[in-house]
């Protein structure tokens, strides 16, 4: 049953499991986040009502998506925001490079943006001679080490204080070694404020885009988002095309459930609504705002009524915080931009269900993700659906790479399974043998070998229940 393409996640997860420091870092962090989220929702009815409302808002937005995008674009353009569209990450990168070049910009400070991670924008810009500096503290920490985020909202969550202290003392000029979090934060502040001051351009993501007003909403605690978008003369924002909602009123409940689900905060330090560049009489703010709307597979996901729910995601990270697999292996093991449960359903839909079959089976389908998701994305059901897509070529399906994860060994396994379970006579013979000789199965037999890595061999009972009830005379009609 192990196709080659299932090995990727299994291997990197196995490696991660051997790192006790990493496991301790994640477990501690996730436990904290779970507790804090719980404290924010003391009343189960309020929570469910808010989830229902949030789900309805996101579903409505998606049902109206093309119209809302057009309305948003028209309004934003009227406000003075320049809107661009990109079908692929390459196109989006080129667009951004073009904008920066046209302004002669050489340095870019970045607020946190997962879409820019999706685009691998930093590498792309570096290659073209433009410095792209992450300014979110977590992103800054991992950029110093050339790493990628291990969590969508807490990118450096895999690192502990000592690791960061060592890293800062080596990589920041004139920095001394300290494990004091306030001092470490102050060091980063000093470096980054200078960068904000000097940068030619700033880049940000977008949490919500409001169609009726043409507004970009940014949620943050640090203020680096505001710095990146308001200090440099040029602001470039990037967003996935699913981010648009109809009205500003729609944003309020989404924002509320986002911060509470994500980090257990009732509210973030800043909620920043950007509607226009520097206007007449204004003394600051960017002279120009550009927005790049990225597709990168989203319109294809949109085409499927069930899979469309994937696009409801508001990137709160609650699904990973509550995931027993993520908690143990951390974000890097997924080898994907978006880790955890949302990554498991999103990545295969973008990269192909066959090549990322590994992610689809990296779940026990325990359902903890769907239980906490603020917009009630049925992640386990979507996983099952995508497992189906990976192994079958259903007509009408538009899923990328459908059927390419099929292997003849798995095929045969299920065919034999069905044969045995469809024919009670055959099932009876097999279970008869299992009860009499199951003990004798070699520990090295396929499946048993994997099962017994951490467990004893399962031993069937002496008689099956089918046999026992017959002997007992339990009526069968």
């Amino acid at each position: 049953m192990h196709a080659e393409n299932e090995i990727l996640f299994r291997d990197s997860a196995a490696k991660a499991l051997l790192d006790p420091q990493l496991r301790a870092n994640f477990r501690r962090a996730m436990d904290g986040l779970i507790t804090k989220r719980k404290a924010q929702f003391p009343d189960p009815r309020d929570l469910q009502d808010l989830r229902d409302l949030s789900t309805a808002i996101r579903s409505r937005s998606l049902l109206n998506l093309p119209s809302l995008l057009e309305q948003f674009e028209a309004q934003a353009t009227r406000n003075g925001i320049q809107v661009h569209w990109a079908e692929t990450c390459d196109q989006a990168n080129e667009l951004i490079l073009g904008i920066l070049r046209s302004k002669g910009a050489k340095t870019l400070v970045k607020g946190k943006s997962m879409v820019s991670e999706e685009m691998h924008l930093n590498d792309f810009l570096e290659k073209h001679g433009i410095e792209a500096l992450e300014s979110d503290l977590g992103e800054y920490i991992i950029q110093l080490d050339g790493e990628t985020p291990s969590h969508i909202i807490m990118p450096a969550i895999h690192k502990n204080k000592d690791q960061i202290a060592r890293q800062f003392s080596q990589k920041i000029k004139d920095a001394k070694y300290t494990e004091d979090v306030d001092e470490l934060t102050a060091m980063a502040r000093k470096v980054l404020r200078q960068k904000f001051l000097e940068a030619d351009a700033g880049l940000s993501g977008v949490n919500f885009a409001v169609a009726e007003t043409g507004t970009l909403c940014l949620v943050e605690n640090e203020g680096n988002g505001r710095m990146s978008t308001h200090v440099p003369p040029l602001h470039i924002a990037v967003m996935g095309l699913e981010k648009v909602v109809a009205t500003l009123e729609d944003v309020a409940p989404l924002y509320s459930i986002l911060t509470r689900s994500a980090t257990g905060q009732p509210v973030t330090t800043y909620f920043n609504l950007i509607t226009a560049p520097r206007g007449a009489g204004e003394k600051d703010g960017p002279q120009e705002i550009h927005l790049v709307i990225l597709d990168n597979g989203r319109s294809n996901i949109y085409a499927d009524p069930q899979l469309q729910a994937t696009l409801r995601c508001i990137r709160c990270g609650a699904c990973m915080n509550h995931c027993p697999v993520y908690t143990r292996v951390g974000g890097h093991a997924y080898e994907a931009v978006y880790p955890g449960p949302i990554g498991k359903i999103l990545t295969p839909q973008v990269e192909g269900v066959g090549v990322r079959h590994d992610l689809l089976h990296g779940s026990s389908l325990c359902g903890a993700c769907g239980e906490v998701c603020p917009v009630q994305i049925p992640i386990p059901e979507i996983l099952v659906r995508l497992r189906r897509e990976a192994t079958h070529q259903d007509p009408g399906s538009q899923v990328v790479g459908k059927g390419t994860g099929r292997t003849s060994s798995e095929d045969w396994a299920w065919r034999l399974w069905a044969m045995a379970n469809k024919r009670p006579g055959l099932y009876r013979i097999i279970t008869w043998f299992a009860t009499r000789f199951g003990k004798a199965l070699p520990a090295g037999a396929p499946l048993i070998k994997d099962w017994t890595r951490t467990r004893t061999k399962p031993v069937p009972a002496h008689r099956t229940l089918n046999e026992r009830v017959r002997a007992k005379g339990v009526p069968h009609v």
Binding site: A29, L33, D46, D49, L50, L53, S59, L63, P66, L69, E70, W85, E87, L95, S135, G138, M154, P155, A156, I157, N160, I164, L184, T185, R189, R193, F196, L197, E212, T213, N221, E222, G223, H230, V231, L248, E249, A252, P253, S256, V267, T269, Y270, F271, N272, L273, I274, T275, G279, G281, E282, K283, D284, G285, I293, S299, Y302, A303, D304, P305
Partner: protein, 220 residues
């Protein structure tokens, strides 16, 4: 890149599903309601939990309360918007000596370095507050530039108790932000903070290290 636009919208349109839109039941938001007399206290509790400091004042004495605070802290200057409503009241009788009022009346390009390194505190008014979670609503613009509440290491904001709304949702509706948003609008709940190092809270990472609210009780 209008090709991309056409292609993307075309694909979305082609697969747009028709169907009834789900209803939006906002009862859960409407349930969040406090009498006006209790809102200031609730806001204060929420904001103090994230290290915001409060100064109590009346409509008549708030400039004096603010001035006394600046003197106590030993600020050499306070950046403000001279043409804003709160700013003009403040400037009207700001005693000479001690903390100097510094008007933000030029384009930022003219004094960017000074703004980043030579300002002790920034002062703004607010257009309202949010009781549920604690939060100040700001509408930067020509009279109160955007960076006033961001770049100086200390942000002082004046809030009138009568302008505190129940929730952010209620405030958006009351302020009419959905109809015509200013170029920039903000909700601020505390000083800048981060928990990116081992989930340990640290204040003052990029934005202000302290947020001081001059809470004006105008409900009498």
């Amino acid at each position: 890149m209008s090709d991309a636009r056409t292609a993307i919208l075309g694909r979305l349109r082609a697969s747009s599903q028709v169907g009834p839109l789900p209803d939006l039941d906002t009862a859960v938001l409407e349930r969040r309601h406090w009498p006006i007399s209790e809102r200031a206290e609730r806001l204060r509790k929420g904001m103090e939990a994230v290290h915001t400091e409060f100064l109590d004042a009346t409509p008549a004495d708030w400039p004096g309360v603010l001035r006394a605070f600046c003197d106590r802290e030993g600020f050499k200057n306070l950046l403000f918007g001279p043409t804003s409503e709160a700013g003009s009241i403040l400037a009207a009788d700001w005693p000479a000596g001690g903390t100097q009022l510094m008007p933000y009346d030029r384009p930022v390009e003219a004094f960017k370095d000074e703004l980043f390194t030579g300002v002790d505190a920034g002062f703004t008014g607010t257009v309202g507050g949010v009781a549920e979670t604690g939060g100040l609503l700001l509408m930067p613009g020509p009279a109160e530039p955007r960076l006033l509440s961001l770049v100086p290491p200390i942000h002082i904001a004046m809030l009138k108790a009568s302008t505190i709304h129940d929730t952010f949702w209620a405030a958006i509706k009351a302020l009419g932000w959905g109809r015509a948003l200013p170029p920039n609008a903000l909700m601020i709940s505390g000083p800048s903070k981060t928990a990116d190092i081992e989930q340990t809270l640290a204040y003052g990472v990029h934005g202000p290290k302290r947020l001081i609210v001059v809470l004006v009780n105008d409900l009498a």
